[in-house]
């Protein structure tokens, strides 16, 4: 089944990063992606620009509303995601546990409602 890991981190943790910081960050996430790939469970991932760059759109209520910012202000913000293909929630948890974001933030695990790919 496909599971999506939503990675929530504290923006303050990642503020004022230098190019070297990003490089170090990429190495750590790269190792995680490599492990997912080697185990044959990797589907997709992306890193998102910081939450202050978000734009939220809604047509609910009949008119178009465009809001500068995220739909909800939270202490920890969505910073990226992983999609993995594993048999069950136990396996998804085993991989989420290894996700770098879990160690300093939170990882929300959601099963795909569309079933197995």
């Amino acid at each position: 089944m496909r599971y999506t890991f939503l990675l929530y981190t504290e923006p303050a943790d990642l503020a004022h990063m230098t190019a070297d910081d990003w490089e170090a960050e990429k190495q750590v996430y790269g190792a995680y992606i490599e492990a997912l790939n080697k185990a044959g469970v990797f589907v997709d991932t992306d890193w998102l620009q910081p939450v202050q760059t978000a734009t939220t759109l809604s047509l609910k209520g009949g008119s178009k509303q465009v809001q500068d910012g995220p739909f909800a202000d939270t202490k920890e913000t969505l910073g990226g995601y992983f999609v993995v293909d594993v048999p069950d929630l136990d396996a998804a948890l085993a991989w989420a546990e290894k996700c770098p974001a879990a160690k300093t933030g939170k990882v929300e695990i959601r099963a795909s409602a569309m079933g197995a790919v």
């Binding site: 981190t9 943790d13 960050e25 750590v28 995680y32 396996a91």
Partner: protein
Amino acid sequence: MKDPIRAAELAARLSYGRLLAFLSARTHDITLAEDALSDAFAKALEAWPQMGVPGNPDAWLLTVARNRLSDVLRRQGRFSIKTDLPEFVVEETSPSTVPDERLSLLLVCAHPAINSDLHAPLMLQTVLGLDAASIARLFLISPTALSKRLVRAKAKIRDAGIPFQIPESEVLKTRSSAILEAIYALHAHDWLDPTENLGEEAFYLADLLARLLPDNAEALGLASLIAANRARLPARIVDDVLVSTEDQDTVLWDEDLIAYSNRQLVRAHQLGSVGRFQIEAAIEAVHIARKETGTTDWLALNKLYHACLQYGPTAGGLVAQAAVTGRLHGPEAGLAALENAEGTVGTAFQPLWAARADMCARLGQSERAARYYEKAISLTTDLPSINFLRVKLASVSKP
């Protein structure tokens, strides 16, 4: 020492922790001490190629670092008059090294007021001089987030006034166990890639602690345990496939580390205060005895695992005990023991399924074994273990 650059590097590796402990204990400010020390190392790399390596490199580094510290402290107004400056006793001409105060530094790193997941990273940074990025790679944690957390922890050590002191013996025993736990956690860390980094730093720290606390049986036990694990390392993974302890080629086991491990375990035993790490080291010693005897003493392992569980049942211990039961009393008894263990360890514990699959394979129940191997594989995140289970799965899947 001929090459001045190499000399500075060696000094960095060998005396970093010692110098940093000495400076931190006197300023109570690890960050300040780190800056002063890295400044001193930079100056050494500049000066030594011209002037030659001084007779006592440690003392030279300490003098430069101390001067730098005095400047900074004076600028910050933290010491109003010159005589308030911390007194450093450095005999430039003496070859004697700086007093070893790394124990008090380790105690600070593993202080109960510091989050326990930062204990090992702090030790690695202060005692071994590893930078935050390397530690982050080791733990697979965001380097930026880790370095911010380390900075905050060091600020807390300074501002909350965590003492650089060695407490009296009863308190020391409790406080030391936090250091042992952090080193053990570092060693037993569930690496994504077990071929890398497995415990080199943990062994360094365990060996150091065994020397700093020669009367602490558990410190000796932990050093023995880690050395034994490391002795088997060359035989542990072959062609990216994990090899179980009983199938490892004993010729590949490291003789020196085995001798070290045995020596520490004997010394620990003589202190007459048994604990979990000594029992785990004894379990290793039983496995390692196969190098001489050619067989594994399952009865001895059974007793030791039983004793181990007395000190606090761990998921790994429960499953290992059940696996030994399977060896002694047959796979059916083993399966029953695993059934019992499941109540405690839950159904998401990989070793439970791997052990269960192994018992079923021994009973000739191929289909069940295959199902359990597949479950175990789904819970495994490191490639050598996945490959090991895949080989096992293939062996029960054959028609």
